[in-house]
Structures are given as structure tokens and as C-alpha cells.
């Protein structure tokens, strides 16, 4: 996580450190766990997938002569008989940020070998993610009842539906997969697999709390993507 030390090497920081790391003909990401580097590279590729979706949405919205549905009306929710714009989406945002925060703390407690705290915080993260998926299911069914389809909708430009279902659906899939893994890791932490050094996923290498950080990277990425979807799809 910070200031890696390798015996026999003087690791420099900053730009000079990068130049030496890339030119040293050995390991490029010094002191970075291989699983963490792999997860980062996966997330980079996932960034490109989501970028393609959002750029397609931008292009579709910019090039249609039909009027684009007003998101703050389409996604309004009645609270005590008064329509509040984007109420559900705001709640979903806060739920996801909360779960991101608990995940960050879980990683911290994991490295401090505080097994119980780490386990409970991962459980809280999983429940937050589950709440998010539930709210999204509600949002989808509400819009489907109102007649939003991938090919048409009663609010405006026909492209709206296909972009909406594709982008939020792909993000929701990521959240669901994350929730499944959070529950599995929650079990593994409580069972003490990372204290005993039990072997990890599809590997003979010993498990370690760094795996919680790797899972955390994925979960924060899901939150990160939601930041962009919230800005471009719901607010723009």
C-alpha cells in the first residue's frame, strides 16, 4: 500500500523512481502484490468498456433531432404525494458511497489484523450493495410499467431506453457480482482464512489480507463508475 521495501534495493520515489522501475529489466511494479496489479489492469480494461458505453450515449444523445427526455422528471419519485426529482437516484448514490466507505475501513482493519471489525464491515458493504441492487430493480420495474422500452418510450427520443437499460444494467451486473464476492470474502474473513494463510482462489499461494484490498479496489471501482453515470446520465 505504501513505501514498499525490497531488500538490497534502494527504491526511489516519484518520477526518478518510475524511470528506474520501468528500466530495471526485472519487476515493474515493485512492492505491488501481483493480484493487485492484475486487478488494476482489469479495472483499466473495464474503464474502457464503460467509457465506450458512455461515449455511445453521448453521441446518440447529441445526434438525435428528437427531444431528449428530461431525466429529473423521468426519474422523479413521489414522496408524500409530492414529486421529488431524482430522489431514488440520490438515495442510491448515498447508499453506494456509504458502502464504499465501509469497504475502505474494512481494508484498513484487515491490514491491522482486526478480524471481527474487518468481517463486519465487509458484511455492511455487502448489505449496502444489496440495497443498491434492490433499489435499481425497483427503478427498472417502475420505468418498464411506465412504458420505457429499449426501442421506445413515452417521454421523448427513442434511444433513451436502450442507453438507460444498457448502461445501468451493465453497472448493476457489476454491483451484483461484487455483492456475491463480498459475501464470500466476508465468510473467508470470519472463518480466519487470511490469518491461517489458507490457499486462495485457483492458486496454491497463501491467502492474505491483501485480498481484501483487491476486492476493495473492485468495489470502489463500481462506486467510481456510478459517479460518472450519475453525472452524465441522470444530471446532464
Amino acid at each position: 500500500m505504501s513505501d514498499p521495501k525490497i531488500e538490497g534495493f534502494e527504491l526511489e520515489k516519484g518520477f526518478r523512481g518510475m524511470a528506474k522501475d520501468t528500466g530495471s529489466d526485472q519487476t515493474m511494479f515493485k512492492g505491488v502484490h501481483w493480484g493487485k496489479a492484475m486487478m488494476w489492469i482489469f479495472l483499466l480494461s473495464d474503464t474502457f468498456v464503460f467509457s465506450c458505453f458512455l461515449i455511445a450515449y453521448m453521441k446518440g444523445r447529441a445526434s438525435t433531432p428528437a427531444e431528449w427526455p428530461n431525466p429529473s422528471e423521468v426519474f422523479a419519485l413521489d414522496a408524500f404525494g409530492v414529486p421529488v426529482p431524482l430522489l431514488l437516484i440520490a438515495l442510491m448514490t448515498f447508499v453506494l458511497i456509504t458502502s464504499s466507505g465501509t469497504m475502505a475501513l474494512a481494508v484498513k482493519y484487515g491490514y491491522e489484523r482486526n478480524r471481527k471489525m474487518c468481517g463486519y464491515l465487509i458484511l455492511a458493504t455487502a448489505l449496502g450493495g444489496l440495497t443498491f441492487v434492490g433499489m435499481q430493480a425497483y427503478e427498472w420495474s417502475k420505468l418498464i410499467h411506465e412504458g420505457v422500452r429499449p426501442w421506445e418510450n413515452p417521454f421523448g427520443a427513442a434511444q433513451f431506453g436502450s442507453f438507460f437499460f444498457m448502461i445501468t444494467g451493465f453497472h448493476g451486473t457489476h454491483v451484483s457480482i461484487g455483492v456475491i464476492f463480498l459475501f464470500i470474502y466476508c465468510y473467508k474473513v470470519f472463518a480466519g482464512h487470511y490469518e491461517e494463510g489458507k490457499r486462495g482462489w485457483f492458486t496454491k499461494m497463501k491467502g492474505d489480507y491483501v485480498e481484501v484490498e483487491i476486492l476493495g479496489l473492485y468495489w470502489h471501482f463500481v462506486d467510481l463508475v456510478w459517479v460518472f453515470i450519475f453525472a452524465f446520465f441522470y444530471l446532464w
Binding site: S2, V32, P65, S100, G101, M103, H220, F230, L235
Partner: protein, 112 residues
């Protein structure tokens, strides 16, 4: 004992305060970006505020929750430079979108 315990830790941890601060900031920034819609700001003001809060939130999550601020510079650069390709793609598609809209309007309403 102290020695072995230190060796066991695969990464040094940070104070809990920094996580709570970032967490709080993310809540506040999300609330502000919601207010952008609540007060129905329009035009350039709306778009610049949305982008400002978005990049601030994304930066905080990546730097502190994902620990990028503390990572080796080599990893940071490998992750961030490919983003410039996305920026180029966005620029290209803005131009393309405008052209498509122009030709649609032209041929739908003026005729070929």
C-alpha cells in the same frame, strides 16, 4: 515479537481519520451535485458544476479509497495515461455527433 508482527503486515495502514474525512467529503460533494439538479441550474453553469463535482469525487475515490496516492509512481502512470485515449475518443465523437445531427436536420427538412 514486535519484529515478526511488523513483517507479517503486507502494507502499512493509514489513520482512520483520513478515511472518515474522504467519506464525509464524498457525501458533501454528492449532495452538492444533487443540488445542481434541485435548483435547476441550466447551460454552461450546470455542465461545469456537474463535471467539477464529478472529477473531484472520482479523484478522491481513486487517490484515497483505492490508495493510488500512496502507490508506486510507475503504477499510477500506467493507469492514468491510457485515459488520454478516452479523452481523444470523446473529442472525436463530439465532432461526429454534431456532423450527424447537422446532416439529419439537413436531409430530413431541407431534402437531398
Amino acid at each position: 515479537m514486535e519484529e515478526t508482527k511488523k513483517k507479517e503486515q503486507s502494507g502499512s495502514t493509514h489513520k482512520i481519520g483520513i478515511y472518515l474525512w474522504i467519506w464525509g467529503l464524498l457525501f458533501v460533494l454528492s449532495f452538492f451535485s444533487y443540488l445542481v439538479d434541485w435548483y435547476q441550474f441550466q447551460g454552461m453553469l450546470r455542465w461545469s458544476l456537474i463535471l467539477f463535482f464529478m472529477f473531484l469525487k472520482a479523484g478522491l475515490i481513486m487517490a484515497f479509497f483505492m490508495h493510488l496516492y500512496w502507490e508506486r509512481y510507475a503504477l499510477v502512470n500506467v493507469l492514468l495515461w491510457p485515459m488520454t485515449a478516452i479523452v481523444c475518443f470523446v473529442a472525436l465523437m463530439i465532432a461526429e455527433g454534431k456532423y450527424t445531427l447537422f446532416s439529419r436536420l439537413f436531409y430530413f427538412f431541407v431534402g437531398g
